[in-house]
């Protein structure tokens, strides 16, 4: 009861101060908390994906790169929240690229860790179930999917991701690429990522140097097709 009274008093004060342009809801906004994000744990040890991906890379990739995206994403969201509350449109629009980059980095890497699994836990085992059928139907064969994703990943200039995507509307799967940290939705709001492979140099450089094709050849040994299949079946249910 007391809290409700407090809220409405705050709301009234802000309405009076702003000359009526702020709605009653602003009182609630002032006590709203912003969701912040934190680094998700890996479901395996850093060294568990060797020899496909070295433990050294996994540790830096997770603890440094992904963490930095999260830290900067949280910072950008705080600044965005403040800019929205103040009605600072220039700031709101100006923050979009930092949000897309850092938020995208968080989204993409969160998916990536789930896309990988040690061979001892099923990493590399081809998909059974719905996804297996979809790949055969929509792409032709498992082998040609691998070949397509590897060659598109190798050909991607600069930094980016190569995806196995599910189109929720057509229920078909296909291969897409996105530049930098753009999440898959930037290629289509109806696209769901089943599998993403990071082809930024940080994902492979310490081990493979400039030979990205070798990284793309070996990573298939640790791809967690079970996760991809779970997402596929959930989204097509």
């Amino acid at each position: 009861m007391a809290i409700c009274a407090l809220v409405s008093r705050k709301a009234m004060r802000s309405v009076l101060r702003s000359g009526g342009t702020v709605t009653v809801g602003s009182g609630l906004n002032q006590i709203r908390t912003l969701q912040t994000f934190s680094l998700p744990d890996l479901q395996y040890d850093y060294g568990a994906l060797e020899p496909a991906i070295s433990g050294e890379i996994m540790k830096i990739h997770h603890q440094k790169h992904h963490q930095t995206y999260i830290t900067n994403y949280n910072k950008s969201l705080e600044q965005l929240d403040e800019a929205i509350r103040k009605g600072d449109s220039a700031k709101v629009v100006g923050l979009q690229s930092a949000i897309k980059f850092n938020g995208g980095g968080h989204i993409n890497h969160s998916i990536f860790w789930r896309n990988l699994a040690p061979t001892s836990e099923g990493g590399g085992e081809p998909p059974k179930g719905g996804l297996g059928w979809a790949i055969d139907t929509d792409i032709g064969s498992f082998e040609s999917l691998i070949q397509k994703m590897s060659s598109e990943g190798a050909a991607l200039q600069g930094s980016g991701w190569v995806w196995l995507a599910l189109d929720k509307e057509s229920k078909k799967v296909g291969v897409e690429t996105t530049p930098n940290q753009d999440p898959l939705v930037t290629k289509g709001l109806h696209l769901v990522p089943l599998l993403g492979i990071d082809v930024w140099e940080h994902a492979y450089y310490l081990q493979y140097k400039n030979v990205r094709p070798d990284y793309l050849k070996n990573i298939w040994n640790v791809i967690n097709w079970k996760y991809a299949n779970d997402v596929y079946e959930r989204e097509t249910a």
Binding site: K64, T68, Q157, G158, Q181, H202, Y205, L206, K209, N210
Partner: protein, 300 residues
């Protein structure tokens, strides 16, 4: 690959028509070539940095140079030679290939290779052993005029390098600011228009395509710093500024840019004078018509 006399005199009809087709294609693309000089590729060569591969240690390791120059940079050279062999980009100077393959913002496949070769050549000479320090002379004057201070310039340069999301480059460049874009001419060109600018670019893009004159570049593709700095791009860029940057090279390039702009300006002025020459003749005709009327009235 050189066409031999024996090949040219082949008697098999199918083969000779095939070869004839090839020969005529060759001559169309390369009309000055004689039979003996006819060849399919002009081999661009990988230029070495102006110092040994370990000369930038401990700030940039020998290992980094071995991969960055020996694999990445070399790879671009090999790729470009393959891509332009037998095309009309073949045998052009590298800068010309960069500009043409940029294709006004719709780049051809060769652009990535050509621009990256150019960018890496430029990067090696943007650094020197015992680099760092401060700029001097005309460059220092312009920095203080356009940025307020060297510290301010370096702060903005570092910011550009750190906010280039993804792969790319951060540049210090000199802008001629002539506004000469075909249908627009700077109405009041003056010396203060010439400006130093910081510009970041993604992937292979470089300031040549904007008709700027680059002075210094830092490579912020991850391969440029990952072996020595891992994810710490900020540390790499700070070290570049403090210990690697070659202000001598920047000053030399500034002098060259100013000279090139002056030469281009002189040519432009000459071209405009010639155009005005034609306009004056037409005006004379107009005046003469009026005079004729006056004369007629005088006669009357």
């Amino acid at each position: 690959m050189v066409l031999s006399a024996a090949a040219l005199s082949s008697t098999t009809s199918a083969t000779s028509s095939f070869r004839d087709g090839r020969i005529s294609t060759l001559f169309r693309q390369n009309p000055k070539a004689t039979r003996c000089r006819a060849r399919f590729t002009a081999q661009l060569e990988l230029k070495a940095p102006p110092y040994s591969l370990d000369a930038l240690e401990p700030y940039m390791s020998r290992e980094t140079l071995e991969y960055h120059w020996g694999k990445h940079h070399r790879g671009y050279v090999d790729n470009l030679n393959r891509q332009i062999a037998g095309t009309d980009l073949d045998e052009l100077p590298l800068e010309e290939i960069v500009l043409r393959s940029y294709n006004k913002g719709n780049p051809l496949p060769a652009f990535n290779s050509a621009a990256q070769i150019w960018n890496h050549d430029f990067f090696w000479s943007s650094m020197k052993p015992g680099g760092g320090g401060k700029p001097s002379g005309l460059l220092l004057q312009l920095i203080e005029r356009d940025f307020g201070s060297v510290d301010r310039l370096l702060h903005e340069f570092k910011q550009a390098a750190l906010t280039q999301f993804g792969s790319g480059w951060a540049w210090l460049a000199y802008k001629a600011n002539t506004l000469d874009v075909g249908n627009a001419i700077n109405p009041r060109p003056s010396d203060t228009d010439h400006k130093l600018v910081i510009q970041k670019s993604s992937n292979a893009i470089n300031p040549l395509v904007w008709d700027y004159h680059p002075l210094i570049v830092v490579d912020v593709w991850e391969h440029a710093y990952y072996v020595d700095y891992e994810n710490r791009r900020a540390d790499f860029v700070s070290t570049f500024i403090d210990n690697l940057i070659s202000w001598d090279t920047a000053s030399t390039r500034l002098d060259e840019a100013i000279a090139a702009i002056a030469a281009k300006g002189a040519k432009e002025a000459e071209r405009r004078r010639e155009e005005e020459g034609y306009e004056t003749e037409e005006e004379d005709n107009t005046i003469m018509m009026y005079l004729d009327s006056e004369n007629e009235s005088e006669v009357e």
